[in-house]
Assembly symmetry: C2
Homo-oligomer: 385 residues x 2
């Protein structure tokens, strides 16, 4: 076992995840779960690699109703997989001319009838559709069942070890955001501001910065998903940076806003409104509250007359963990009930003035009592750099 | 139009891509193409955002047999999409309670029968399977056709503008690799070496470092896909770093090896063999050669008796561009013929001694004559730091 493969969590973490999962499978009469995606593979095995960025090879994980998960994976990953707590690693030489793991996967699922496969909201299929069709041909008796609700409700509640990891990366990002006065300045291009911030995150201890978006313009910004351009920061600009930095494969996801030199009244008011909206959600973010409750608490501050519906983002925050965004969503139709151990973002946004928006975001842990902020709370008034 | 949304390429780039595509669609009798994935969305529209990291919302692109592509996307992306050359942007408030763009997509495809959808090697489906089933219900006359060969063969041949971008990020990574003597040292943990290298890549001009893997151990390393651990680098270690850094959304993908203090004879020999294997492929990487030819040229140097089959990586390189790895693969069964404009990696690997491997990688452009190296050629002998 190489040092590189030191597991992120003790074996007990994965045993607990499996026990919770197999109890849920039993309740639903499932013979197996089949996953093709990175987060689920890692959730059950601890297998962590950036190699998923290459679309060439499919990776399969089968969770049987009893016993440990079975990895059906390309040979290139077998050595690393064997360093995890998994015993049954089946591999083939991939890419393969005409059978990229499909018959091996079919053999693994041979005795299963009801097979849970994620098919619902937020899910994707990381294998070719042709190969899924072939799997069905090889297993005519297989009855696929949507496993999305099962796996989402399990992953929504984080363990103590997961929360510690997320808290650590949130603390790292909080330190980098606090470094803003020495990182950002008028005349700097947005592209350079992004670069300076990424380097600072790495220096503060982030292992990676897979996600950094933002915007800057007079009194607000046009959108929150664009890459940075070459326009220099000017007095009166509001700069927003929103980062998903990672540690041991877990994300933080929050943003901060600053004005350069001076801020418009509209920008100050919007900032204050979003701060108060976040407060309103923090006040009720306890077990029993639903995502809809959180959404309504924020919407009630931002838009007391109920004229809009969350702006173009569509929701005011979401779950957080191994992925930048996870189920559930703080939106009017999501009736997911808060439970201790859930890690959520609160992400209210609003229009500042014509075509300019502002977004706030905090990360928090739901507990038996008041929620615990994992991000260091934003300043109550728009900070001026 | 915000500065952030300055397009990566002139409109003519996207027009040419569309014309080539629609000619191929005409030849195959296709009424439309349907894409759900980032690379294809960006290939046809120029729409570039890291927001794809969030799995919450599906994004759809329809390429009709005549006229510009049609984007069917969440409202959060509509403003940015409208800054591209695309005219027809259809959006809905996403996440949606019960119809996350599916009926809007069905309306867009209403008059199409033969619809090309990627279903083959290297493809995935970035939308819920339930929603794909619903789309088929809404469009009972739709006949899906596998569009994988069509889109892969188009994307394999890069334009001059694409090649310039890839060459630029390769030059950036070459500079960072050349900085190795001041970045890496004995006693440094592999994790710290990774961090130093990422920061250097950003300083040299990379916009992002989505991919950095590697290994270090006495005389070789155990695998090439692991995250780094906390073990300090020691004399006799061979360190390998393999990076996919990006510029304007295009990747480089190559590695370098160094020994610390001294190198074993086996490590020196393996390094030299892989260097010569790369040379053998460079000598024949011209129009008309197949991926199999490239594979055989390298295999003939590494394993003249033909005892192995490419090690656990399974191939000796691949296409390169908007994704870290793209079609085709340098493997014994891939008969793809080299054409001018293809950007490829050569990635021979071999076992150094029991359980220790070594991998080399270079990036090159296929031209009418000899190939042009985009990565600065590795030293001919294993460098000692």
């Amino acid at each position: 076992m190489t040092d590189a493969a030191k597991p992120d969590f003790p074996v007990s973490e994965y045993q607990t995840r499996l026990e919770r999962t197999q109890r849920a499978m039993h309740d639903q009469g499932l013979d197996a779960l089949l996953f093709t995606t990175e987060a689920e593979m890692r959730y059950f095995t601890g297998f962590r690699t950036l190699f998923w960025l290459s679309p060439t090879r499919p990776w399969f994980l089968v969770v049987p109703k009893t016993g440990k998960p079975i990895a059906v994976i390309p040979e290139i990953g077998a050595a690393l997989m064997r360093t995890t707590w998994i015993d049954d690693v089946r591999s083939w030489s991939s890419p393969h001319e005409d059978d990229d793991g499909v018959s091996m996967l079919a053999d693994t699922l041979r005795d299963c009838t009801k097979v849970g496969i994620p098919m619902g909201r937020e899910s994707s299929l990381r294998m070719p559709l042709n190969d899924l069709a072939r799997l069905h041909e090889l297993l005519p008796g297989m009855e696929p069942v949507d496993a999305t609700p099962l796996i989402q409700s399990l992953r929504e509640v984080k363990s103590v070890a997961e929360v510690e990891t997320i808290a650590e990366i949130c603390a790292i990002a909080s330190r980098s955001f606090a470094n803003a006065p020495r990182l950002f300045h008028e005349g700097q291009t947005l592209k350079e501001a992004f670069r300076a911030f990424k380097i600072d995150l790495l220096r503060e201890g982030a292992e990676d910065v897979p996600y950094l978006v933002g915007g800057a313009d007079q009194g607000g910004y046009a959108d929150v998903i664009s890459p940075p351009g070459d326009k220099p920061l000017r007095a009166g600009d509001v700069l927003m940076l929103d980062t998903g930095a990672t540690l041991r494969g877990y994300y933080c996801d929050f943003d901060r806003n600053w004005a350069f030199g001076h801020a418009s009244d509209a920008a100050r008011r919007a900032y204050r409104t979003l701060y108060e909206a976040t407060d309103a959600a923090l006040n009720i973010a306890r077990p029993g509250a639903t995502c809809r409750d959180l959404y309504n608490a924020m919407a009630g501050v931002i838009d007391p007359q109920g004229k809009t519906s969350g702006g173009n983002v569509g929701r005011y925050g979401h779950g957080l963990g191994m992925q930048l965004t996870e189920s559930p969503s703080n939106i009017h139709f999501d009736m997911t009930v808060m439970k201790p151990g859930m890690v959520m973002t609160l992400e209210p946004g609003m229009e500042v003035e014509d075509g300019k928006i502002m977004v706030h975001e905090e990360n928090l842990l739901i507990t038996d009592g008041a929620p615990v902020l994992l991000s260091e709370r934003a300043a109550p008034e728009l900070p001026i750099l």
